[in-house]
């Protein structure tokens, strides 16, 4: 019967496209921040992240159109997929915001925080990558996605530890308060991405718990 056959799903394709673009964004940002740490960043390259986010927005619109084309039979899946999409989109927004901030950040990074800053950016990127995996898994494997949410939580903790160690070092500096202030903002904004990714994974966990009881 046609009903039981795995059909090529347009929604699937758009979903994959969206997640893969989100992944590209965070990987690009990762590379650029590493260049920034090593003082090799060409700030114009940050435009790639900003353009990537715009691309994500366009895919999101397409996704919403496909999603709401026929919502009669399974409205709860439509609603849940929509809220996941919106939350993932907000992750991209936060990545874009950080890229824009880095674009105008006028200083080089303090030498003594480079190691910790690298840990922070690595952890942040990892949370977003794992979140993307989790969002992919929720389509076919609740159990796998559920486990992934705990992994994201653990990585976020690592990022939080790095954030506060960084702030601790930065706030002890007395020279150039503007640089102190802006560097602390830089740390906070990158951590915001990890924190939000964990919040989304919490939401996904709740959703997974909800489903078997439907």
């Amino acid at each position: 019967m046609k009903l039981f056959k795995e059909k090529i799903n347009e929604l699937d394709e758009v979903n994959r496209e969206f997640l893969s673009q989100s992944l590209t964004n965070i990987i690009t940002l990762h590379e650029l921040v590493n260049q920034f740490i090593n003082k090799k960043l060409n700030k114009e390259d940050l435009e790639k992240v900003i353009q990537g986010e715009k691309k994500c927005d366009r895919i999101k619109e397409k996704y919403v159109q496909v999603l709401f084309r026929d919502k009669r039979a399974l409205p709860f899946l439509v609603e849940d997929r929509y809220s996941i999409l919106m939350k993932l989109d907000k992750t991209n927004d936060k990545i874009e915001y950080f890229a824009r901030f880095l674009e105008v950040y006028p200083f080089d990074l303090y030498e003594d925080i480079k190691e910790e800053f690298k840990i922070l950016i690595d952890s942040t990127v990892e949370t977003v990558q794992e979140l993307t995996t989790c969002a992919t898994l929720i389509e076919t494997d609740f159990e796998g996605a559920y486990k992934k949410t705990f992994e994201i939580e653990a990585i976020r903790r690592k990022a939080r530890k790095a954030k506060f160690e960084l702030l601790n070092t930065i706030f002890k500096k007395t020279k150039d308060p503007t640089k102190v202030y802006l560097t602390s903002k830089l740390v906070t904004y990158i951590y915001d991405v990890a924190s939000w990714a964990e919040e989304v994974s919490d939401y996904l966990r709740g959703l997974i718990i909800k489903y078997p009881s439907r």
Binding site: L74, P75, L77, D80, R81, I138, T140, F142, R214
Partner: protein
């Protein structure tokens, strides 16, 4: 009154009562509640099934309703009183979106006329008591069966659903199954419901062609559904949150029990069973039910006395004109 006028009057009243039955038909409620079909689509489907059910199945049951309930011979004014009282109560409750049992309204009206004309022994109490027992048992059966049907589905199928996609496939499958069950129920119910409108007329023996009566009442049933039926469908369909799988869990036991009930001649109330089964479903899922359930239960409790009072009040004016 001349026989032709009585026939015309009976036809009009039958149209009114089948309109009332259609207006109070909640068969499509779970399809609406689970959003498997839009209101317009389900009304079109219900219209087709009502007409087909009335015409193709109505004749099989039309001769059974209305007999054995009075302990004396019935006449035209009694029949008219019962029909008009039932129609009034059905249309009134439909206007407020409250589902009631047509059979119970008819029986209530019969009790009223029976007591008025024959005293305490004017009605066949053993038969009435048997019907009353099913009146009580219908919601209980609906509640219990759906409760366990849901638990069974939840235990056997839900653990196999491992992601959004498998939910999607499963719910789609259930939506097709639900549609099939509803079509079957609506079709057979139309046949049964028409019997309430035409059966008592047949019982009065005024020589109206049964097939014509069934076609007319089939169309009238469909009109009631389209014009006033939305309220009841919405009211029942939103008793608790429904998905195709849960709606199926509520609907399939009712369809099966009503089917066997009809075969065994047990007068179960589909409305009562469906409402109670939706409450049972909510209980099994530990989900809330819509506020205002007390209104539905109150109307159930009031159906017998109100229909009886209406028939007592209406009998003398009707008898005067006839």
């Amino acid at each position: 009154m001349a026989l032709e006028y009585i026939i015309i009057l009976f036809l009009i009243i039958s149209i009114i009562i089948s309109f009332g039955i259609g207006a109070n038909d909640e068969t499509m409620a779970t399809i609406y509640g689970s959003k498997t079909l839009k209101m317009k689509e389900l009304l079109i489907l219900a219209t087709i099934l009502s007409i087909l059910g009335a015409v193709l199945l109505g004749s099989a049951v039309s001769k059974t309703v209305g007999k054995d309930l009075f302990s004396f011979e019935i006449d035209h004014s009694m029949v008219l009183t019962v029909l008009i009282s039932t129609a009034i109560w059905l249309i009134l409750s439909s206007a407020y979106g409250l589902p009631i049992s047509t059979t119970h309204a008819t029986i209530g009206a019969i009790i009223g006329v029976g007591i008025l004309l024959g005293g305490p022994f004017g009605v066949n109490w053993p038969t009435i008591l048997e019907l009353g027992m099913w009146w009580l048992l219908s919601p209980i059966i609906g509640y219990i069966v759906t409760y366990y049907a849901y638990k069974l589905i939840h235990k056997t199928i839900t653990p196999k659903l491992t992601g959004f996609k498998s939910y999607e496939r499963s719910e789609k499958f259930f939506s097709y199954m639900l549609l099939a069950v509803i079509c079957w129920t609506a079709f057979s119910r139309a046949g049964n419901d028409c019997s309430n409108a035409v059966g008592i007329v047949v019982g009065a023996g005024i020589g109206v062609d049964l097939n014509i009566m069934l076609i007319i009442t089939g169309f009238s049933l469909a009109s009631g559904l389209v014009i006033l039926g939305r309220g009841v469908i919405k009211s029942v369909g939103t008793i608790t949150e429904l998905h195709p799988s849960t709606a199926f869990a509520a609907q399939i036991p009712i369809a099966v029990i009503l089917f066997f009930g009809t075969i065994l001649g047990i007068p179960l109330s589909g409305s009562h069973m469906l409402v109670a089964s939706l409450v049972g479903l909510a209980k099994a899922r530990r989900a809330p039910t819509r506020k205002g359930m007390w209104k539905i239960v109150s109307v159930w409790l009031l159906t017998f006395p109100i229909a009886a009072i209406l028939s007592i009040v209406l009998y003398f004016p009707i008898n005067y004109f006839i």
